[in-house]
Subunit: 406 residues, 2 copies
């Protein structure tokens, strides 16, 4: 008998029929003797409908109130899913994030989980209930409803699995596993049977939108066994995310190619090259809860340097505004924003012990006539920024060059 946390995304609970299919699967697991905790997202389409309502009444919505509205999406799903499970003769009980209680900070719309109270839910589990918990949401110390931001249901599932010490956390999506890259861009992209946490972290953060990065961080930190599966297949094995580097000598150097079209590039030009400048730039950005991804700074000249970083495209204007207000204080010459970029990353733990990956990557792109504006590397990835319009060609040529289809 295992304790399994299953997370179902929006397309997996899109309508009553899909919810009934989820209940069927839950019952199969219960019949095998497992204890099951289900974490669900809003029915797909619901969140967008609610966002439209919000936009209709307020163009600059207060995030506290937006969270009140948006969190109803998951609340509908937990009730319906619990009812569907009950209709199959299995005891079930729903919990909102606040009811669990999933305590978060008060950063509305992108809150972080501080603690998960397990006393109530553990009692219900011991009493034979399937628990159905709302993903994506929690409550702060004052009881204000918070949301974890897009994809936050994955984080909820992993955090619950960690708090309960679950044997496995299964993430059901509309894809049947992790691929070497997006099959919509490279038609012969290949499904991976397993991938390491480190690789998955790089893949997730760089735009393979199967799992939210925070959920992978959580899973790695608390050693939660993660598996990505399709909710549309009855017996798929998906891709398991492992802790160990199982790669043998003959394993491929590169596991996959991730990319992201959602980022914009910001460059602060010609600032005095002195200690603390990076913090002076990024501190106020972080205070506004704007996530920064890549950060690049090369050596300076004549006491001046350029500082480049990327943010989500939707936050480019706000970021530029913050920096323009600080420009004189920073002593910077100009602030440049560019949203016509895409990020591409080669990822693979095998990369650590192999030289020549970078040069092969750059040569391949050069042969395609693709210009690289910015480069940043870690032990297991190489990330570059290129023009957005060149992205598909770049991914396809690299997928082929590194034999990822084999």
């Amino acid at each position: 008998m295992s304790l399994i946390v299953q997370k179902y995304g929006g397309t997996s609970v899109a309508n009553p029929e899909r919810i009934n299919a989820v209940a069927d699967r839950v019952k199969r697991f219960v019949n095998k003797g497992h204890k099951v905790v289900v974490v669900v997202s809003a029915m797909s389409g619901e969140t967008n409908k609610l966002l439209q309502f919000i936009n209709d009444v307020n163009k600059k919505p207060d995030p506290r109130e937006s969270d009140v509205v948006l969190s109803t999406g998951e609340q509908v799903t937990i009730g319906l899913t619990a009812l569907a499970i009950q209709a199959r003769g299995v005891k079930a009980k729903s919990y909102t994030g606040a009811q669990v209680k999933i305590l978060t900070d008060n950063a509305h719309s992108k809150a972080r989980i501080i603690n998960i109270g397990t006393e109530n839910i553990r009692k219900d589990l011991d009493n034979g209930y399937v628990l159905v918990i709302a993903g994506f949401q929690g409550a702060d110390e004052q009881g204000n409803i918070t949301t974890l931001g897009r994809g936050g249901s994955d984080t909820t599932a992993v955090a619950i699995a960690a708090a309960l010490g679950a044997d496995e956390c299964q993430i059901y999506t509309d894809v049947n596993g992790i691929y070497t890259t997006d099959p919509r861009v490279v038609s012969n992209a290949r499904k991976l049977k397993s991938i390491t946490f480190e690789e998955m972290l790089e893949m997730a953060s760089l735009g393979s939108k199967v799992l939210q990065i925070r959920s992978v961080e959580f899973a790695g930190k608390y050693k939660v066994n993660l598996r990505v599966l399709s909710s549309f297949e009855e017996d798929g094995e998906g891709t398991i995310i492992t802790y160990e580097e199982s790669h043998k000598m003959e394993d491929p150097i590169i596991s996959g190619i991730a990319f992201n079209r959602d980022e914009a590039k910001v460059t602060v030009e010609s600032i005095p090259d002195k200690p603390g400048i990076a913090y002076q730039i990024l501190g106020p950005i972080a205070e506004q809860n704007i996530d920064v991804d890549m950060i690049i700074q090369n050596i300076g000249h004549d006491g001046l340097n350029d500082f480049t970083f990327t943010v989500n495209k939707t936050e480019l204007d706000k970021t530029i505004e913050i920096l323009e207000n600080m420009k004189d204080h920073l002593g910077a010459k100009t602030i440049i924003g560019d949203s016509n970029i895409a990020k591409l990353s080669l990822v693979g733990v095998g990369m650590k012990s192999h030289v020549g990956v970078a040069s092969k990557m750059f040569r391949t792109l050069s042969e395609e006539g693709i210009n690289i504006s910015t480069i940043s590397t870690s032990e297991i990835k190489i990330s570059i920024l290129i023009e957005e319009k060149s992205l598909d060609a770049a991914v396809q040529s690299l997928h082929k060059a590194f034999n990822l289809d084999q």
Copy 2:
């Protein structure tokens, strides 16, 4: 400066445009220097959509889970309404029932309010916020979400007004006041400028669906000034519900005619006429949270009696089932259910001091050839059960006979 509680029903917040209109009205009141608390229902249509979803996954839904799903309707509206008010430069903050906190018993789908915590909301009011509170919902001691049942938003509004000691509780609906009877049945039905609490209680309980009966009870108990207005008129005065009998000698004897097509009649025939029998019959009904309205028992014969009462048509089958199980224990001969009935009531405090109302009523119906099956009276009303198909003719003839159109 007054403290005003305004309650908006489903049609008054049916879409973003209507919610914006609500925000406009709230701002007008704030600009006049009033403190405003807004209580809102779900957007009209939402509750039925959710009920359909529930029906699609479970034909006999657990009321705890149904409440989780249904309570999201109001939660969406509070967030949107707060955002619409904020868009007009007025500080606003939303509260779910659980956040207030509105403590109820655990009778899911028809919970009763036990207490309202006012500490948080009073602080926000003092800090200049318009509060937007979800009607129809609360939470029990364990934090389970409960709903107050259909029309419960009125009860929420009055209970909040009582708890805060508000100067007036305004109920905005799609009608502009209380009429002598339903204008859809009698075309020249007349709007009343005022009506007493006692009359309103009888009108509400008997089917004038403008206000929910519990809200009127609350208002009377805590001396809350209630006013019914239209959310579609900017300057309507509606109907005010008064504590005092302001009727003068020349005032009409009858204030209005209420009716209800939703009730079914249950008769327990030939039971031993002994003390405690009424409790033995109604106790088990009440335990199942089935509301009983009229109760009629005439004198017995030969140690036997008949006991008749009415319940909502939707609960007739369940009621019959309960009684059939107890039939032998009660020593009753037969249990008869009849759902083809309607209830009609003449209401008016003037009735107390006037004889002849009943005889005029019965004569009028007799002249129309309408048979009366059951009669029950109180100081200010006479209620009868008749065949449902005769209801319209009965209301029309009585409205004319008692000169209610003048």
